[in-house]
């Protein structure tokens, strides 16, 4: 079942589409980042409770959103790949995984750096932080499984099933971690101070979220285009080996 090119008709179309959209995504991401960073670091006031540490939230929260968004992208692309046998779905899922994992790592690191001034320790078994940690293991499990096979297509199909099984589990894990957290949590500590979303705080957050999303799209397009080229190279190499 080699991924010969004709069954893969739409990547050519995808390549053209990607090449057209890419500059807009990249440009949009750059502008949104510039504006977002300015708003987050300079233009917005410190929070009356947390002071300047609230600025960490402007990267932590969008990163956590994109961590989940990335996993959903993987699951949807995997579903497309499994149901309609579209190799492009696999390539999109495999391209989204490292990006999503990257955002998950950012969410964890910034979460710990935010936790230190607020609770005095870097790691607190707070429900949200713990769920993001489990999400990271789901990402790493997917990436490890996909690369554990000699035949990339075999790895992609196994990964697709794992991504779907994992995606069904994300809400269950989230629920059980919240349940576990309320059991062991003296109510006082982890009131993960949800700052009242005052406009001066909401705007930088939303602009940064937009920047993260545009950057995710840019990176995804880049990696999918690269994956299509690499697939083409493999097909050529096989053809030459047989030829």
């Amino acid at each position: 079942m080699t991924g010969s090119l004709h069954r893969f008709a739409n990547p050519a179309r995808f390549q053209r589409l990607a090449r057209a959209v890419l500059p807009w995504c990249a440009g949009g991401a750059a502008v949104a980042f510039a504006l977002g960073l300015y708003l987050a670091l300079v233009a917005s006031p410190p929070d009356y409770q947390q002071g300047d540490t609230v600025r960490i939230m402007y990267v932590h929260v969008p990163a956590a959103w994109m961590a989940l968004g990335g996993y959903t992208t993987m699951a949807l692309a995997s579903a497309v790949a499994l149901i309609w046998r579209h190799r492009l779905g696999d390539l999109i899922a495999q391209s989204a995984a490292p990006i999503g994992a990257g955002f998950t790592i950012i969410a964890l690191v910034t979460g710990m750096l935010w936790g230190q001034p607020m609770w005095g320790t870097f790691w607190v078994w707070d429900a949200r932080l713990t769920s993001v940690l489990v999400l990271l293991f789901l990402y790493l499990g997917y990436i490890a499984l996909v690369h554990a096979f000699d035949d990339p297509e075999r790895g992609a199909r196994a990964g697709a099933i794992l991504a779907l099984v994992g995606w069904i589990n994300v809400p269950i894990v989230k629920f059980s971690v919240d349940w576990w957290n309320t059991l062991h949590q003296p109510a006082s500590i982890s009131r993960f101070a949800k700052p009242a979303i005052h406009p001066s705080i909401l705007t930088p957050l939303l602009v940064m979220a937009a920047a993260f999303m545009l950057l995710f799209a840019t990176l995804l397009l880049l990696r999918v285009r690269a994956a299509i080229v690499e697939h083409r190279l493999r097909t050529l190499a096989m053809a030459r080996a047989r030829g």
């Binding site: 490292p98 990006i99 910034t110 990696r223 190279l233």
Partner: protein, 52 residues
């Protein structure tokens, strides 16, 4: 003015590393993605170039 900005209300040791880590990971992703695409395209050009 610059000094207060850098101090981040005394939380400089947490805010700047957080932004540093974020930009580092994102830069890593950007560089890897762009280089992967470039390398593939050059290889493809070389292969398809030699075939015609």
């Amino acid at each position: 003015m610059m000094k207060e900005f850098l101090e981040m209300g005394g939380y400089a040791a947490f805010v700047w590393p957080a932004y540093g880590a974020t930009l580092f990971v994102l830069a890593l992703l950007i560089v890897d993605s762009v280089r992967r695409l470039k390398r593939g395209q050059d290889e493809l050009a070389r292969l398809e170039g030699s075939e015609e």
